[in-house]
């Protein structure tokens, strides 16, 4: 492995991070094991076709990007009274049993190099606990990154028949250090029986940043996990948003939108594992590439042997605004149970020239016409976003980019 970041990292650093948070021994152990595992485990999988790597994570200079002790952020963690929304340190003090049960239960800390790095070094995070029967809206987490690197961890646990809507935003502060930065996040969602989680994430980090994120949910019987994922910022993002449908009758929807320009590179994985009966998944992603941006999309619908009566749908559409951009896509179906209705589709194209001609012939300037058509392109995704605030924020960011 060319990226020898772990050569710079020490056990002492990890002990210091864990100690500052007053973490129990088992958690420190988990971190130290993750640190040790860096020696042997690989980077996350990226797609390779003859002669081409879709994303090259080995080129990243982690050594200078990772500065675990000098972390700085502005964070808001707000929620209604009947829901617990706790910074990581408080959660450690108040809910150790909950963390012991769920931490690392969905995203294996040693799944790959970057999850291990994140587990060893995370210094900030949020735990959201929704008690039985509670319906909560408007949990918001805002993270403004100011340091060279920031490692973030989020755990969401919903008890039986509860529901929660969470909106998370990541951006870079105006006081942030200059130069390249690295943001890393792991999000685990444990949706209890008949509960419902809606988790929106809007990533708008500065374009000298790299980000790695893995968001994964475990849906119990009749539970629903809906993800909304917006990617606007960073120069390179490697992101996974996924749901394990482990309970009978569980459902998931994963909605994604991205807009890449300049030299941005988005590697977006959307995955669902159907592991129980009568489960449903709906995956919808739309994105735009401009300038020399490149998007890499992988969508996987994996239907297990015991997943009787599965319904699984996936759509991905990319609009290329520039001839120098690139859009790669690989939607995959892995089907082990025949009692399945599954489909996927993917398209890549440019702005319809007839549409453009129609609008310019009505006196709309070409630039404005293009912008309107791009906004129109995102409408099917916007319609899937149930949280007004999220939708408005995303629309605003898209408009900004179009104007810029």
């Amino acid at each position: 492995m060319s990226t020898q970041v772990h050569a710079n990292l020490t056990e002492e650093q990890v002990r210091e991070i864990s100690g500052n948070l007053d973490e129990p021994d088992w958690l420190l152990e988990t971190r130290l094991e993750a640190l040790e595992a860096l020696e042997t485990i690989d980077m996350p999988d990226v797609i390779r076709t003859p002669g081409r790597d879709w994303t090259n994570l080995h080129e990243l200079d982690f050594e200078t990007l990772v500065d675990p002790l000098n972390w700085a952020e502005e964070k808001d963690q707000v929620g209604p009274d009947d829901v617990e929304v706790l910074p990581w340190g408080e959660a450690v003090a108040e809910h150790e049993e909950l963390l012991k049960e769920h931490f690392g239960s969905i995203v294996d800390p040693q799944e790959n190099y970057l999850t291990a790095l994140s587990t060893a070094l995370f210094s900030t995070g949020t735990v959201i606990y929704v008690p039985e029967g509670v319906d909560a809206e408007d949990v918001t987490i805002r993270t403004e990154m100011n340091s060279r690197s920031l490692f973030n961890y989020t755990l969401v646990v919903t008890e039986e028949s509860s529901s929660v809507t969470i909106l998370e935003r990541q951006s870079t502060g105006s006081d942030a250090v200059d130069g390249e930065k690295y943001y890393s996040a792991i999000v685990e969602v444990i949706a209890g029986e008949n509960s419902s989680v809606q988790y929106g994430s809007l990533q708008n980090l500065s374009e000298d940043s790299y980000s790695f994120s893995c968001k994964r949910g475990d849906a119990d019987t009749y539970a629903t996990i809906d993800w909304i994922e917006g990617n606007i910022g960073t120069q390179l993002t490697k992101s996974e948003v996924s749901t394990e449908l482990n309970g009978d009758g569980s459902e998931t929807q994963i909605v994604g939108a991205f807009f890449g320009h300049d030299e941005q590179h988005f590697d977006l994985d959307v995955k669902v594992w159907h592991r129980a009966e009568h489960t449903t998944a709906d995956l919808v992603t739309r994105g735009v590439t401009d300038d020399t941006a490149r998007s890499v999309y992988e969508g996987v619908q994996d239907v297990g042997r015991d997943a009787w009566d599965t319904s699984s749908y996936q759509r991905e559409n990319t609009l290329m605004l520039s001839d120098e951009s690139e859009a790669d896509a690989s939607p995959k179906l892995i089907i082990n149970n025949h009692d399945t209705e599954a489909s996927h589709s993917a398209t890549v194209g440019q702005i319809d020239q007839e549409d453009l001609l129609y609008m310019t012939s009505r006196g709309v300037s070409p630039r404005l016409a293009r912008n309107m058509l791009v906004e129109g392109f995102f409408v099917p995704v916007m319609e899937e976003i149930a949280v007004d605030e999220f939708r408005e924020d995303l629309e605003e960011l898209i408009q900004q980019r179009l104007r810029g």
Binding site: E326, A327, I335, V348
Partner: protein, 476 residues
């Protein structure tokens, strides 16, 4: 049509493919892959030095390359031991370049092809026929009218002797170099037999030419090479069929097909693959298409224990087009890993990929495909459609397409569906008086119809019969 049906009726039993003949060879190499074996093959064919050199270079490349083992869901190749495969068996016939009269063949070989219905098909529907038995072509014939027009249809070994300039230029050079993959390298080292087809400018070969490949011996490898050059404005349809009786040990088929479609030319390449279920079928097929040329691949993969085959088209000239139509059927113990690759390297090129797969009794079908649109290939379009039908819960069906789009002025669409046979459809057909088995057969026939209608009627009927055979007794 009636006579064809009679002929099919007589032969459409499993025994049609299952019979074995006593092995009678003139030359048989040792097992395994060594320089000695490669030299023996080349010497036995009295090849020019340059071909031996190419073989030895390919052998070195083969030895340096790792086995492909890390593709998700790929067939397990650990049971395939190249050192146990006999790569070369020259059948014991009098005339090395192949006779043009069936009656001149030894009785057991003639009987083999009679049972497979080749002479009968030749009379009715084909412009020319080549028949390979073990490692060499034993029968080769083409109607005189095509010979007069300058069409060449001869076995590949003979082409090396008679058309060295053409072979030197086209054989495993720009289209499929041995370095392409491990099995292409293997093929380059031990290839034997196959067809060379040359169609001169503006000649349209009206009826298809066919080559049939039969492996008879246990534990052998067959490595036939097919090279098709279709000059400007010409048109040809090439059909290959293949089969082998089933043995307890593994056979290997690793063919290579290279097609050059010049400007405005049109080549259709159809395959009905029915290897026995102890055969590893690992092929490389590729076409390079010049301006306004048209390439069509039609493939039916029924047989083999494991297949890895992704016919590839490189659309090199403006306006070139490609069509892939493929059907895979995997039953018990089979892993049919197939798909398509298309490289759009010029403007205004278009491709269509249509893939259908059926899996049952624990069989596995994979669609693995790549569409690459290069920067500058503006005005290109591609449409990919994959449909999979699953019979039961022991089976597996994966769809793994890859799209790399470097050009914005394009139209790219991919769609895939997976499903089971609809209970409502079966109920409907049953209410019309069909029993359960017939209803399912009819639904499957409908499912694959887009494929069968692309084939000449004889082959469409054959494909349908093969699928019915596969389904027989396993439904209920």
């Amino acid at each position: 049509m009636s006579s064809d049906q009679d002929h099919l009726k007589e032969t459409d039993t499993e025994a049609r493919f299952e019979f074995k003949k006593e092995e009678r060879s003139a030359v048989k190499s040792d097992k395994g892959l060594t320089e000695e074996v490669v030299r023996l093959i080349s010497e036995d064919k009295d090849e020019p030095e340059w071909m031996l050199e190419r073989r030895l270079r390919a052998l070195k490349q083969y030895q340096a390359m790792p086995m492909p083992t890390d593709w998700p869901g790929q067939p397990d190749l650990t049971e395939l031991d190249i050192e146990e495969i006999v790569p070369y068996i020259r059948p014991d016939v009098d005339k090395r370049e192949g006779v043009d009269d069936w009656t001149e063949l030894p009785e057991e070989i003639k009987d083999t092809f009679d049972k497979l219905g080749i002479p009968e098909a030749e009379k009715n529907a084909l412009s020319g026929v080549g028949a390979q038995y073990e490692s060499e072509v034993v029968y080769q014939n083409m109607q005189e009218q095509w010979e007069e027009k300058g069409v060449v249809f001869m076995n590949m070994d003979r082409a090396v002797q008679e058309h060295p300039e053409l072979v030197k230029e086209y054989f495993m050079t720009t289209c499929v170099p041995p370095s392409d993959n491990k099995f292409a390298a293997l093929h380059g080292a031990v290839w034997s037999g196959g067809s060379f087809v040359y169609v001169p400018e503006d000649v349209t070969v009206e009826m298809p030419v066919q080559a049939y490949f039969r492996m008879n011996s246990e534990g052998m490898g067959q490595f036939e090479h097919t090279l098709i050059v279709a000059e400007e404005g010409s048109e040809v349809h090439y059909i290959e069929g293949c089969s082998a009786p089933k043995y307890g040990t593994h056979n290997l088929h690793s063919g290579c097909v290279e097609v050059f479609v010049e400007e405005d030319a049109h080549v259709q390449y159809s395959t009905v693959q029915n290897w026995s279920k102890n055969t590893f079928n690992l092929n490389t097929k590729r076409a390079i298409v010049e301006s306004n040329g048209k390439m069509e691949w039609v493939s039916g993969s029924m047989g083999s224990k494991a297949t890895m085959l992704y016919p590839c088209t490189i659309l090199k000239g403006r306006g070139a087009t490609d069509t892939h139509i493929t059907i895979a059927f995997a039953g018990e113990g089979q892993n049919i890993d197939t798909g398509a690759k298309v490289y759009h390297n010029a403007p205004d090129t278009s491709s269509t990929i249509e893939s259908k797969s059926i899996s049952k009794d624990g069989g596995r079908t994979n669609y693995r495909g790549l569409v690459h649109i290069a920067d500058g290939a503006e005005g290109s379009s591609t449409a990919v459609e994959c449909d999979a039908l699953m019979f039961d819960n022991e089976s597996t069906s994966d769809t793994m397409p890859y799209m790399e789009i470097e050009e914005s002025k394009v139209d790219v669409a991919h769609e895939a569906t997976v499903g089971k046979i609809g209970d409502e459809d079966i109920f409907y057909l049953q209410s019309r008086g069909l029993d359960d088995d017939d209803a399912k057969k009819m639904i499957v026939a409908g499912f694959i119809e887009p494929i069968t209608e692309e084939l000449p009627i004889e082959y469409a009927v054959e494909l349908n019969r093969l699928i019915e055979l596969e389904m027989e007794g396993s439904l209920g």
